[in-house]
Symmetry: C2
Subunit: 199 residues, 2 copies
């Protein structure tokens, strides 16, 4: 690799990184995660496309940075772990992976929520990503009626669990061990995924 | 009423209002909602206690302003409506009142979440209020084991419903009518309130 290029044309690497983050937020919001290209984001930022790999390791890493996800999380791997495998244990895998992941990064969950609630653009990016990259994969697994509503109900419980455990730090839910949380919450997701929704 | 006093000793009413909000945030966080007095809050702000009534109509209105709750909401009345009455319809009343209330004020739900996720002190205030003024009343109604965990699970689903419907505006859950949401979500609360939590 051409290291002179990797180090960027512009002096002030931190500026390049910030420009890429701002451009990525815009392009992800406009084009969605799937539609946004590294080239378009770099172009919007006015820097060379190689800078995306240099600073973020690629599109997925740039997305993680925009969403304030923990730097150690390999999103595609995590999603494959949760969403691959049998439908049978899906609810438990969702809850267990979510809690295990964020328990080590509770400050970053608050940062994600802060960003989503204060920037319309970040909310748009999260909505698109959840809908198309996460819930869309859940929806195809659901045999029951109204799969999109079911998937969004699952998401509502998981976001709320994160809010209660990491942001508001509410009562026993903030300190309960992972198994307790899984046993309490997974049946909710199982109902949303598979059981009748009408009372 | 002495109108010269109502108009305040200090010029610049907006300053007085802002000082009261800042002081209230601190005192609510330190003393809890029940422990905080109008006198202590006014004292911290360096203004006359009558200013609290003038600007906010009392402690409850000041709390609503700190939490960015819709100005039209009479919190004690709302809580009595939800938490009074039979345990039987409690889950449905919680969901229906929550959605009806915030559907008209979705921007303020986002403001509440923004404030809670960006200010540790607001999170503390909300935690205390939910725990002692809301969930504490739910807990006393629950005949099942681990009532505090059950109440916090209910809160997690409701906060998550608000996040999905008003902040992220996720899929069908953002646009579903109130009855659909009630039918889908109330059984979750019923399980949290009354059914076995272990799988």
């Amino acid at each position: 690799m051409d290291t002179s290029r990797r180090r960027g044309r512009r002096p002030g690497g931190a500026d390049t990184r910030a420009a890429l983050l701002a451009a990525a937020r815009e392009v992800f919001a406009e084009q969605g995660y799937a539609g946004a290209t590294v080239r378009a984001i770099a172009g919007r930022a006015g820097v060379d496309a190689a800078m995306v790999n240099h600073w973020f390791g690629g599109k997925q890493g740039l997305f993680s940075a925009v969403m304030e996800l923990p730097g150690t999380v390999r999103l595609p791997t995590v999603l494959d772990t949760i969403l691959g495998g049998e439908l049978d244990g899906l609810a438990e895998r969702i809850v267990r992976t979510f809690v295990t992941l964020w328990d080590d990064n509770d400050g970053q969950f608050a940062a994600l929520i802060r960003s989503v609630s204060s920037q319309e653009m970040t909310a748009t990016v999260l909505r698109d990503f959840l809908t198309n990259e996460v819930l869309g994969r859940v929806v195809t697994r659901i045999g029951a009626d109204r799969p999109e509503l079911r998937a969004s109900l699952c998401a509502s419980q998981m976001v709320g669990l994160g809010m209660a455990r990491y942001v508001v730090k509410l009562g026993p839910l903030a300190t309960a061990d992972v198994d307790t949380v899984v046993r309490a919450v997974a049946p909710t997701l199982t109902r949303y995924l598979t059981e009748p929704l009408d009372g």
